[in-house]
């Protein structure tokens, strides 16, 4: 059976180094998120990290596995950081913990831990939360550039109190994300919308705040590509198909427009997804050809769900749907080794396709 492996078997490196590099590559995006959305992001990441490490340790302990050895590989921490960055800031603590427990226990440990999970654990947690708590999960606070005169994001202490004790204090500073605004637009041409809505007219190319967050994740992703942590196939295929879909449906900005390619590329979780979620070596397809199909599928689904579906940002569902299909893609995209006609046995070749 095709088992996911480290991406470049010729050069064995420990999981820990890879995870550390990926965490490092997250940092530009994380800093941009922190800069624009305040301490809520920091608290989310910390809560997720603590909870994920505890869950992982408990599960390993129950299974009599060496706890510190497995904790040190950093995969639980990475899942937690990505989930924490994806969640809206200032969520009540119990929602964050629910998502994190679901991600680590149901998404990862019940399948046997690192290397065995068929679904991306972070996205399992995110999707479970958006299905269970849609109202909380769609309330993003305004980026700092859009706050009214005299208001500011809560400081560390206030944010912590909001998260731990209740959610009422943040009503004044939450609002629709750029994706929501374009989705719910009726009657305004895209140009008018961009002129009239401060989310767009204070931004440079795709919506204030979000463009820099996506640029940050893009930078990190390019670093990871340069460091050969993953191959280019899946992320480029995903971004390419998202661009192609949005170009195909782009009608130069009528009132029924679904958003320009640049808007889709730099909104929501696009870049984070493309370089940090889609490239997950465990739950994606394994062959190169398979990864291209996998990426194209995710890009197409992201555009379809964003444009016509019920959920505002589609990345988690698109990734989970592609995870469902990944073993099938693998099965049909592996090239048969030369001289072997029999198909009854699963192909164990790791040759590039």
């Amino acid at each position: 059976m095709t088992r996911p492996t480290v991406m470049n078997p010729a050069e064995p490196r420990s999981n820990q180094t890879i995870m550390l590099k990926v965490l490092l590559a997250c940092s530009p995006g994380a800093v941009a998120l922190f800069w624009h959305f305040g301490w809520g992001i920091f608290i989310n990441v910390c809560l997720c990290a603590i909870c994920a490490l505890c869950c992982e340790a408990a599960a390993l302990r129950l299974r009599n596995r060496p706890v510190s050895l497995h904790l040190r590989d950093g995969s639980a921490l990475l899942t937690a950081v990505l989930l924490g960055l994806a969640l809206p800031p200032l969520l009540p603590w119990w929602i964050v913990l629910t998502g994190c427990v679901f991600a680590i226990i149901f998404g990862k440990q019940l399948y046997g831990g690192l290397g065995n999970n068929p679904f991306n654990p972070g996205m399992v947690g995110y999707a479970a939360l958006i299905v269970c708590f849609p109202e909380h999960m769609s309330r993003w606070i305004f980026p700092s550039d859009l706050l009214y005169e005299g208001t500011a994001h809560p400081g560390l202490w206030d944010a912590l109190m909001t998260v731990l004790t209740g959610y009422e204090g943040v009503d004044g500073i939450t609002g629709a994300t750029p994706l929501d605004i374009v989705r719910q637009n009726s009657g305004l041409m895209i140009n008018q919308l961009y002129d009239s809505n401060s989310v767009f007219n204070r931004g440079h190319w795709a919506g204030v705040g979000w463009e820099w967050v996506n640029l940050g994740f893009l930078t990190g992703g390019i670093f990871l590509l340069y460091a050969r942590i993953f191959t280019w196939h899946a992320p480029i295929a995903m971004l390419g198909s998202l661009t192609a879909m949005s170009l195909f449906f782009w009608d130069s900005g009528s009132s029924a427009s679904l958003g320009s390619p640049i808007f889709h590329l730099f909104s929501g979780a696009t870049m984070m997804g493309a370089f940090f979620i889609v490239t997950d070596p465990v739950s994606s397809a394994t062959s190169r050809r398979g990864r291209i199909i996998y990426g194209v599928l995710i890009g197409t689904l992201v555009f379809a769900i964003r444009s016509w579906g019920d959920y505002p940002d589609a990345l988690a569902f698109a990734v989970l749907l592609a995870n469902c299909v990944a073993p099938t893609i693998d099965r049909f995209s592996m090239r048969q080794p030369f001289g072997r006609a029999d198909t009854s046995e699963p192909n164990t070749s790791k040759e590039e396709c």
Binding site: M1, Y111, A127, L301, G309, Y311, F317, L320, C324
Partner: protein
């Protein structure tokens, strides 16, 4: 034309019979650990479901409705399914004996697959045309087939995984089906 595309798209993806309406789960769990037979079973399910939908629709329109025998619907449709499955079995045995042994074990599960029955009942309850009945029958079969294929290869990958002892086998298969179901919720609203 657009209606027909919508019917297919809806029954295969958005209102997937197995993952969204949770029908045919028991058959899915039993069948999906045989990757060698998955192609034959998927094809047989599509054929059964399409044929049953057409025959059940015709019987409903020509016999049950005119004689006011609606209370016999479930019984009649079950008989139709049993006969269709038997006919498919004979056909396969005659024309494609290679697949005959593959299918032999699973035909009872095919007959007991509630996706097939439910699509016939849905068609009878909602006011459909023959073409719509055919398409929804085909869509139901295809939705089961797609989930079956993905699920089978997923389970094949899980067989190699280091799953905790209490969750091996059925438990983790149910968990996987649940997570796939969450994934399919993301498609809601597309039609």
């Amino acid at each position: 034309m657009l209606d027909f595309v919508v019917i297919l798209f809806s029954s295969v993806l958005v209102n997937n019979y197995v993952l969204v309406q949770t029908l045919g789960g028991s058959s899915l769990m039993r069948v999906s650990n045989n990757s060698w037979a998955v192609g034959s079973i998927a094809a047989a399910t599509v054929a059964t479901s399409t044929l049953t939908a057409i025959i059940a629709y015709c019987l409903d329109q020509t016999v049950l409705l005119p004689f006011d025998l609606m209370y016999l619907r479930t019984f009649t449709f079950i008989c139709v399914i049993a006969c269709t499955v038997q006919a498919i079995k004979l056909w396969v045995k005659h024309f494609a004996p290679v697949h005959s042994s593959n299918l032999h074990v699973f035909l009872p599960l095919l007959a007991g697959n509630c996706v097939v029955l439910s699509v016939a009942l849905y068609n009878a309850r909602s006011d459909t045309s023959l073409l719509q009945a055919l398409l929804s029958g085909f869509g139901a079969g295809a939705s089961y087939a797609i989930v079956l294929i993905c699920f089978t290869f997923m389970r094949e990958r899980l067989d190699a995984a280091d799953i905790p002892q209490p969750f091996k086998g059925g438990a983790v298969a149910m968990l996987t089906a649940g997570l796939m179901s969450i994934a399919f919720m993301g498609l809601s609203g597309l039609v």
